[in-house]
């Protein structure tokens, strides 16, 4: 379809400017919101989904539970009267177990027909454990990927890919802060998926660059990269599109437990595709130029 080479790398400074702007906007909003909204999984606390009888609204529940200062959010259709009630631990001393029982008892006393669809309570030790293992997870993932790339390709490809990955993960993380999405264990899974996805995208282009180098050695490196991106462009766009379709389906009807997860994935797939074209490749070119000097 595309016969002529598109000069993608011409826009690399604009791209870097765009990424920086995005980062600053996300950062400002995150700070404005008071930091990343760490979920019950990581800080410990109680999360209850309750189904209430007709006519009970957020205000009434808040009134009953005012001692606990909970966050209350309605989920699903208006006529289902289902609410998420969550509180976070303030000090290490409290136990979520006791608080959760107290809240349930209070609710059951005040609203006769309340039904608890799900109850989660996470102690501070678990939150800490999950936080640490999530960090460890990213660390291990980055190292393994870097080693694999350095082994299958060359060191510079590994560096370029990692730059793109760090860019994607940072922006996705800040995206959670920007939108106020609660950072939970499923979000960690979403970030890691984006990690793998963006990597996958990058490799397809790098693979093409490597192949083109073997075919023609005389061309200027920049042109060669541009040509490779152009050749892979339809694949990059098509795969992103089909994946977006699937995640969109998830976002639209996946239900409460999946909504935030899908939202982060949607953003991550777009940003991952963008970083493959406009970030990973320029880093590669920059590396090559520095070395040539």
């Amino acid at each position: 379809m595309l016969k002529s080479t598109i000069d993608f790398l011409k826009y690399r400074w604009i791209a870097i400017g765009f990424s920086l702007t995005l980062f600053i906007v996300f950062m400002t909003m995150t700070v404005y919101r008071g930091g990343i909204n760490m979920g019950v999984d990581f800080v410990g606390g109680v999360k209850i989904i309750g189904k209430f009888s007709k006519g009970i609204d957020e205000g009434k529940i808040r009134e009953v539970l005012k001692d606990y200062n909970p966050m209350i959010q309605q989920i699903g259709a208006d006529d289902k009267y289902e609410y998420i009630i969550s509180t976070k631990l303030k000090t290490d001393k409290e136990t979520s177990e006791i608080e959760s029982e107290k809240i349930k008892r209070t609710l059951a006393e005040k609203f006769q027909n309340v039904e608890f669809l799900s109850v989660e309570n996470v102690g501070p030790a678990i939150g800490d454990f999950l936080k640490k293992s999530a960090l460890k997870l990213f660390f291990v993932a980055i190292i393994l990927m870097a080693v694999y790339l350095a082994f299958r390709f060359e060191f510079k490809y590994s560096i370029a890919a990692m730059a793109a990955i760090v860019h994607d993960i940072t922006l996705c993380f800040m995206f959670c802060g920007f939108t106020g999405i609660e950072f939970s264990v499923p979000i960690v899974a979403a970030l890691l998926t984006i990690f793998g996805y963006s990597m996958n995208d990058t490799i397809v282009i790098f693979d093409r660059i490597r192949e083109n180098i073997q075919l023609q050695t005389k061309t200027n490196y920049l042109d060669l990269v541009n040509k490779s991106i152009t050749q892979s462009l339809s694949r990059t766009l098509l795969t992103s599109l089909t994946t977006l379709f699937a995640v969109l389906a998830l976002y639209l009807i996946g239900g409460e437990g999946i909504n935030d997860f899908a939202q982060v994935l949607l953003f991550g797939i777009v940003i991952g595709t963008y970083s493959t074209v406009y970030l990973a490749s320029p880093v590669l070119v920059a590396w090559e130029r520095i070395r040539a000097r």
């Binding site: 039904e115 454990f129 890691l192 998926t193 699937a246 239900g255």
Partner: protein, 551 residues
Amino acid sequence: MTRGMIYKFLFILFIIVFSVALILPTVGEKRMQVSFFSDPGTELMQKFEKRFPADAYKIDKEGTSLIISGQNLTDAIMNEVRTYDGVRDAVFLKHWAEDYLLAKKINLGLDLQGGMHLVLQANFEKIEKKMGKPLSDSDKNEITQQALELLRNRIDKFGVSEPSIRPRGTEAIEIQMPGVKDPRGVKKAIGTTGRVEYRLVNDRYSKLATEWLPQNYKGKSLPEEKDDLENLLTDISTGIKLPDTLEVLYYYVREADTKKIVPSYPIILEKKVSIAGDDINKAWVGRDEYGGLAVHFTTTPEGATKFAEVTGQKNHGKRLAIVIDDKVRSAPSLNVQITSGQAMINGDFTQEEVQTLARIIKEGALPVDLRIIEERTVGPSLGQDSIEAGIKAIILGLAGVMAFMILYYKAAGIIADFGLVLNTIFMLALLSWMGFTLTLPGIAGFILTVGMAVDANVIIYERIKEEIRNGKSVRMSIVYGFERAFWTIFDSNLTTLIAAFILSQYGTGPIKGFAVTLFIGILSSMFVALFITRFFYEVISLNKKIKKLSI
């Protein structure tokens, strides 16, 4: 067609047929048997008729139980039915494919079928205080194991169908209980410390009870239901006219394969407690003088006096039962008087039995204080909602991607779509066959792979198109397309596989489920694209005059 291609074709056909058979228990018609405490009244029957309308389900009466059949039945629905008043139990009947083909119904995670997930931690502070020194890691590990034994002992009385109790790290225990009727009761029971006591066995009445049982109780083995077991105890004690100073309890054994602790036979004990659990100081596994396995223990100074009395001459030949939470777990005979406060129990023990016994004795000496540090309970109705939403999302995602592929690639798109359907079947088949658990994030992983699965096809097709543009013949383009795409697909998918693998190592169940589906999805999509789709194109290439490819 060459001979090689015919073999290939037969192989592909076999895999497809086998996979379809494997997913039958999951997607095909399922049958659920519901049993009741007494004959279900009209009110309960109406509830069933309302819950299982005739257009989607069929209700049959079989003896005293109901058989409900339908395609939409799930574990979540089974767990919901179990909570109905008057329902004794609900179980799925085996699908024919399960009997003949090792096929299994797909496991659903607790977030989909409803249930309770608990993480408990032993509180070491009290024990450290009592011992007067900080505990080493291996001590902590041992105490956690001891708590594990206690929990196995305690949990099955709640009628939880398949509880999974396992250690997590050295200090915590993870319990998964699908479909719990009474979450609060379970938590309360888990929170209390165990009570261990040593009481003398009355052999004369024990013999009477063993004789009474087959004559007066019809069942071949002891009843499974908790209430029936209790009632039987009263029946036995009135039946053999038990004096007030004695009491009937059950002797429990651990089933080797399920690790469940089940009642084995009734045994009569004195009500008087000869030795209390905390009269024992220490217990450990060792050898007796003949080299057999034995549990050694020492008593406290007070315990030594009681011990000397109970092991006195008058009791020789009698047995001393070790009772934990009103369950008799062992009853060694008394042979010698022990005044030194140091003794051992020997017998024909296996390593596991002797360790269990030592742990029970230690539990009495140093009761473990368990704290719930994590709880996740999901009701069956929320689980069912998630299943339904998940199925809808999968169908919508599939339809969207398939329509797009046909619009963009025309005939080649149809081949890719066929591959996509196969991929979905293979994934389900692998998941159920290998016994992986499908969770809500797992469904998300499933949908995500639907989107990503066509990637391999896209890479191949784009390459073929490019080769055609470069002026190669259609046949050569196909050959080059597949060849050049192979390593690209391999490298790019391997990174996602690495990510999925790392994720699968990450603690909690639901996320593991996501990683596993992602992993399996990528593997099967590579297989479909590089083997099955390729075969299609090999067949197409047989036509030597082919000039145009619809791609």
